[in-house]
């Protein structure tokens, strides 16, 4: 019985990992290509959730599912074009300050526009319910989140590995000067990468709005975990992030089972352990420009 229950917690942990994944993948992409640690990434997630709450009464949850990531992606495009672009080659401290400032502006704007208390939002009735498999219980809605996350991972992997676009991006990660020497400007690629990355964060916001309180600080809440996932997975590694997100989810689940007060702390301990044993993270690559 105990073993079965532990297994249930492990499987549930994989589901939790799926949330972090959508945020962490974008974070990792922007860092790998642009060298920017985007502290505003959680803000795009929060904006995605707020847009969902604002749009769903008019265009339905399905409509918001499409519209919110697109709108946030466009917002990302504007921010990339006018702000981030200036900092790719600058001292990383500057972009840290910039994105930290952006995150605060975004959080406070949400507070001023929508108020500080959480906004009510529920799972759409048609997506509610539970799935029972033997002893196990799953929320139908969470399985949907898992499916969406899996599709995003697969789509992003195909985009990065199997298309011309992806080849340029990967080359740009390793050696931007050589890409430039070949006559390819990375600027439009960077715009596209930021758009995709923040769009994914917004998508996470859409998916989590029905199950997590929609309040201004929700971005800050999830961002720390996303960073931990990226650090554990290793910079520049696509699968590293995927594996790390799942491990973080599972470790959290087991901690909740064994010693609840350490549910959140367990994730940081894991990070510490990984960094001690593998300073580049689990699958971190050596990226020449960051050495």
């Amino acid at each position: 019985m105990e073993i079965v229950f532990l297994l249930e917690q492990v499987l549930n942990g994989l589901l939790i990992g799926a949330y972090y994944l959508l945020i962490a993948l974008g974070l990792s992409l922007i860092f790998s290509l642009g060298g920017i640690v985007n502290l505003a990434h959680g803000a795009f997630y929060a904006i995605g959730a707020y847009l969902t709450v604002a749009l769903a009464p008019h265009i339905g949850f399905g409509g918001a599912f499409v519209a919110a990531p697109v709108l946030v992606g466009l917002l990302g495009l504007v921010i990339e074009r006018f702000l981030l672009r200036r900092f790719y080659r600058a001292d990383p401290i500057l972009s840290l300050l910039l994105t930290f400032g952006l995150a605060m502006v975004a959080e406070q704007s949400l507070r001023m526009i929508f108020g500080a208390p959480p906004l009510p939002f529920s799972i759409p009735p048609e997506l509610r319910g539970q799935v029972f498999i033997g002893e196990f219980i799953y929320s139908r809605y969470r399985l949907l989140i898992l499916l969406v996350a899996a599709l995003c991972v697969a789509g992003l992997w195909l985009l990065l590995q199997r298309t011309h676009f992806g080849r340029v991006v990967r080359a740009g990660v390793q050696n931007p000067d050589m890409v430039g020497a070949l006559g390819i400007s990375l600027k439009p690629y960077m715009s596209a990468v930021v758009m995709i990355a923040v769009g994914l964060a917004a998508l996470a916001g859409v998916m989590l709005a029905p199950v997590i309180g929609v309040h201004p600080a929700m971005g800050a809440e999830i961002l720390t975990f996303a960073f931990v996932v990226v650090v554990i997975g290793g910079l520049g590694s696509f699968w590293g992030v995927v594996v790390a997100a799942l491990i973080v989810g599972v470790v959290r689940g087991i901690a909740a089972y064994a010693f609840p007060p350490a549910t959140e702390a367990s994730v940081y301990l894991l990070m510490l352990l990984v960094l001690l044993l593998r300073p580049r993270g689990l699958f971190g690559e050596r990226i020449a420009k960051f050495e």
């Binding site: 500057l94 939002f121 219980i137 029905p210 007060p261």
Partner: protein
């Protein structure tokens, strides 16, 4: 990496502009009375802080509209208390730099404790409007600290009566989820005592980190443990997340809680609010004061006030009256006045007063129960309320801590 950013001419210009644009600090004038409001406006309790700020502002505007206090205008200062360290630093700044007559606010019990230490040292007045921990009225009580927020004992004994009546305590297996900080620890202790005395049995208890947003591992544990009742002693955003996810997993165990704020239930969304919870005040009370307060607040801020708004509104109103009655802002005289058993209208059927021995307000409370999901039509009217607790022929102290439960000796 180690090279520090060079300060350019443009950067210097910007910093100068920023310095100049900083809000001008006006120094203490004798013709205004200042109250320093200090409460969490960000973080997991931030959702409640906004109600506190709006209500305090509204109270102050009403006071000024009717001529101020002793002919002097009241001026409110507002700050985000963030965490215990920041709360303590800002409380000190309010007293030493801004020369406030009183500090009002707080929600976090750990921060209230820190402010209590500052006011003890500075001999300045502090009215706690949102921190529940019994310790603040017991081992950590202060001569200059008063409590408009109910103490954990009051919350437990008020809603506890409703739960005993519903048959949710005696002989029941109870699973307690508790916020893992000062407030939760204190509440768990008080709750376990009450449950034990009433024939219930806390069979499982989990401490939940305050920053936790995903309850699914705990929902699985609840499902496995099959308790008769779940007692959620959670705080802030935790309550919203718990309600949303409990309903997502479709669990059917009765839910109750010994600590609660209505705004967090409003934020959970249609069909997600369930269970029985305690509150100091709610907007559906049927008395003229409550109706007027609700209508005024709603007219100004577009939503009804909740318990946190009630606390901060009354703190400012009570202070104003105390200053008017003592004809000044002298801290020790106000303490003496508040200790004298003066009665205050707090938008309930009975007037409230402060208990001299621990400075806890004695007032009625209510147990509210969620309407069935299908009947939750209005975004705010999600619940029904018990009659006032304690009943009309009982002493208001019937639900408060006894001297044995929380004994206070004011340090000098």
């Amino acid at each position: 990496m180690t090279e520090l950013p060079r300060i350019t001419r443009r950067g210097a210009m910007l910093s100068a502009a920023a310095l100049l644009a900083a809000p001008a600090i006006s120094y203490a004038q004798s013709d205004v009375i200042r109250i320093g409001h200090l409460t969490p406006r960000t973080g997991f309790l931030g959702p409640l802080g906004e109600f506190a700020v709006q209500a305090a502002q509204m109270a102050s505007d009403e006071i000024n509209a009717s001529g101020g206090i002793n002919g002097r205008k009241l001026e409110m200062l507002f700050e985000d208390s963030v965490n215990p360290q920041t709360a303590s630093a800002k409380a000190e700044r309010y007293i030493q730099r801004d020369k406030v007559s009183c500090i009002v606010g707080e929600i976090n019990s750990a921060s209230a404790l820190a402010i209590g230490q500052v006011v003890q040292r500075e001999r300045a007045l502090f009215i706690n409007t949102g921190a529940n921990s019994d310790a603040l009225r017991g081992s950590d009580c202060r001569k200059f600290m008063f409590h408009i927020e109910g103490q954990n004992s009051m919350y437990v004994k008020a809603v506890g009566r409703a739960l005993v009546q519903q048959g949710l305590i005696k002989g029941k297996k109870i699973y307690a989820l508790t916020a893992d900080y000062a407030f939760g620890h204190d509440l768990l202790r008080v709750a376990k005592k009450f449950i034990g005395e009433n024939g219930g049995n806390v069979t499982n208890e989990d401490l939940i980190p305050t920053e936790l947003t995903d309850f699914s591992p705990f929902l699985l544990k609840l499902r496995q443990a099959r308790p008769d009742v779940i007692v959620a002693n959670l705080a802030g955003a935790q309550i919203t997340n718990f309600l949303k996810q409990y309903s997502e997993f479709g669990l059917r165990f009765p839910v109750a809680g010994f600590g609660f704020d209505t705004a967090l239930a409003w934020g959970a969304g249609a069909g997600n609010f369930l269970g029985t919870w305690p509150t100091m005040w709610h907007h559906r009370l049927d008395n003229p004061g409550a109706k007027k307060f609700t209508a005024d607040f709603r007219g100004r801020f577009g939503r009804p006030p909740e318990n946190q708004a009630w606390g901060d509104y009354n703190a400012v109103k009570i202070l104003a009256r105390a200053m008017a009655e003592t004809k000044g802002t002298d801290g020790p005289r106000i303490v003496e006045y508040l200790e004298s058993g003066a009665k205050f209208d707090v938008q309930k059927s009975r007037e409230a007063y402060f208990r001299a021995r621990d400075h806890q307000i004695m007032t009625e409370m209510y147990a509210i129960s969620a309407l069935p999901a299908a009947e939750q039509k209005d975004r705010y009217d999600l619940f029904t309320s018990s009659a006032a607790l304690p009943g009309p022929d009982e002493s208001l102290e019937a639900i408060a801590s006894t001297p044995e439960e929380a004994s206070c000796t004011f340090p000098t």
